[in-house]
Amino acid sequence: MPDTLFIVVVEGEPDRAATVLDALAGDSVSLRVIEPGPGLARRIAALQPDLVLIDAANPSRDELEELTLASGPLERPVAIFVDRSDSQMTRAVIEAGVAAYVVDGLTPARLRPVLDAAVARFGMLHRMRTELAQTRAALEERKLIDRAKGILMRARNLPEDEAYALMRKTAMEKNRRIAEIAQAIVTASEMLK
């Protein structure tokens, strides 16, 4: 079916892949998910897709750059959608954290709805991941501060609130974050064991 847009999505995590597929599915679209890993460019080239979508932060992304040379630079050019014509769309694509490689010859009219959907969904995934990372980091810091507090309580024979107040005061005086002070205490105490 020549009217069907064949899209390959490069994504290793099944949940994320499913989310992207849901957003892109349609009558005139056929989709395929492949995992990043050795030989990625060769595997994609063999499929001959019209469009390749990949998380812009995916460490495998540089392999796709090779597709631009797939069979000589002038015979079958594959170019990122970041082209010369639509800088607003380009910015939206980049900020959503998706990289799109399209086969030259696809009209913007056909691409636009697909890319709009991809941008929306990748953007959402990107935000979710950032929030998750922040939550994790906050949790780690919490644990670290608790450990440092315990060390101070034992070493200086302080009650809990005073141990915390001491760390906070030191952090303010040294212009550092409490987590950094806590890390220093934990590291030093491990060395002094």
């Binding site: 050795p38 812009a56 460490p59 540089d62 392999e63 750059e65 631009t68 040379l69 990122i80 980049i94």
Partner: protein, 385 residues
């Protein structure tokens, strides 16, 4: 601080000039604040620079030239006013291929590119797949120069952190990559080092400071401060007494996040070829400053343009002309005239200096580093001139 620049880097040894310019206070001396942004892939770093998310970036020397030639996945228009480093690449092979090379009579000395080439041709008569970090890179050009006529040779793009996996999967048998990734594969016992990049070309421009075309003209004040800070960082990095401090600084989690010992190997030009072997000295393994390393010679750009045109079947004369316009020795002269000794010429004969040589300069002379290709060839931009 009154002015700031955003810089992007990839965690590699040769990101050092940007990190050092910030951490050692060279930027502060210029009343310039540097905000560093770490990127994970070259495509992403290129997009960040192209879209103005950063002002300047550590870039593969071939990328601005490829961009101007219309190659690659994004339309970009960059230029190069300063070279950040020469060399620093290693060529490594799987342990199985290393054994086959020894079986073909090679004594791996990390020096002789002709002997290594002969052994490779004997050990893999049907060719092999080489991993490089990016299709437009000095790594790809060095390989092509060294083995371009080898039957069945192909290069594939492998992001450096995935080299170990690609070797294990049999996707590649050999690779050319920037430190510390070669040494990292060695310490995982997945590779042995065969040659430094300098064995193929002693003075290959590896990374450059890239900006969007016209950025320096639009930001002469910040641009000049950035150039001077980075140039002083490069000078500091090439002083032997800086190595230990630089290794510690680069090892930190917000820079390369790798053991300082591995970084120091490359900085002190003493590399481990295999996990069980001894260190081997490789003088001049990487240069950040010495031998007029920072000057963007038009002849270097022309060489890259010509090699790329041969590999990708483009018009050679046009490619050389366009490539030269990407490198901006005039900006280097404008912004570093007060601090650096400037060579009188902006092009040199590449490959014609078996030993360092003195050349004319604005103040006395300037020492040019060794410049030799593995087979003794010479690249003269102006034949007869």
């Amino acid at each position: 601080m009154s002015r700031a620049v955003d810089l992007s880097f990839i965690p590699l040894l040769d990101a050092a000039p940007l990190i050092v310019a910030d951490r050692m206070g060279f930027a502060e001396e210029e009343r310039l604040a540097i905000r560093l942004h770490r990127a994970r892939t070259w495509s992403m770093l290129r997009d960040m620079l192209a879209l103005g998310q950063v002002d300047a970036a550590q870039m593969l020397s071939a990328v601005p030239i490829a961009g101007r030639l219309g190659l690659g996945g994004a339309a970009v228009d960059f230029e190069t006013a300063l070279v950040l480093s020469l060399g620093g690449q290693v060529i490594g092979v799987s342990p199985a291929l290393a054994d086959d090379l020894r079986g073909a009579g090679l004594r791996i000395d990390f020096r002789d590119a002709l002997a290594a080439r002969d052994a490779l041709l004997r050990a893999r008569p049907a060719g092999l797949r080489f991993g490089v970090p990016f299709p437009f890179s000095m790594h790809a050009e060095l390989l092509h120069l060294w083995l371009g006529d080898m039957p069945g040779l192909s290069t594939v793009t492998v992001p450096p952190p995935q080299i170990a996996e690609a070797l294990l999967a049999g996707e590649i048998e050999a690779f050319c990559v920037g430190e510390p990734w070669g040494s990292s594969a060695v310490s995982q016992r997945l590779a042995e080092l065969l040659l430094p990049g300098t064995a193929i070309w002693t003075a290959a421009p590896e990374k450059v400071l890239a900006t969007r075309r016209g950025w320096f003209e639009a930001n002469p004040d910040r641009g000049g401060a950035l150039m001077r800070a980075v140039w002083r960082a490069c000078r500091w990095l090439d002083q032997p007494e800086s190595r230990a401090t630089a290794s510690e600084m680069l090892a930190r989690d917000d820079a390369l996040a790798i053991e300082p010992e591995v970084i120091e190997r490359a900085l002190s030009s003493r590399l481990l070829l295999s996990a069980t072997g001894d260190g081997v000295d490789s003088p001049g393994f990487i240069a950040f400053h010495d031998g007029a390393a920072n000057f963007p010679w038009r002849s270097q750009a022309a060489w890259i343009g010509r090699q790329m045109s041969q590999r990708l079947r483009l018009d050679a004369d046009a490619a050389m002309r366009i490539a030269q316009s990407v490198w901006r020795p005039d900006l280097y002269r404008q912004h570093l005239g007060d601090v650096a000794v400037l060579p009188a010429a902006s092009a040199k004969v590449e490959g014609a200096c078996p030993q360092p040589i003195l050349a004319g300069a604005n103040r006395g002379t300037v020492l040019l580093g060794r410049n030799q290709f593995f087979d003794g060839r010479i690249f003269d931009l102006l034949p007869g001139g």
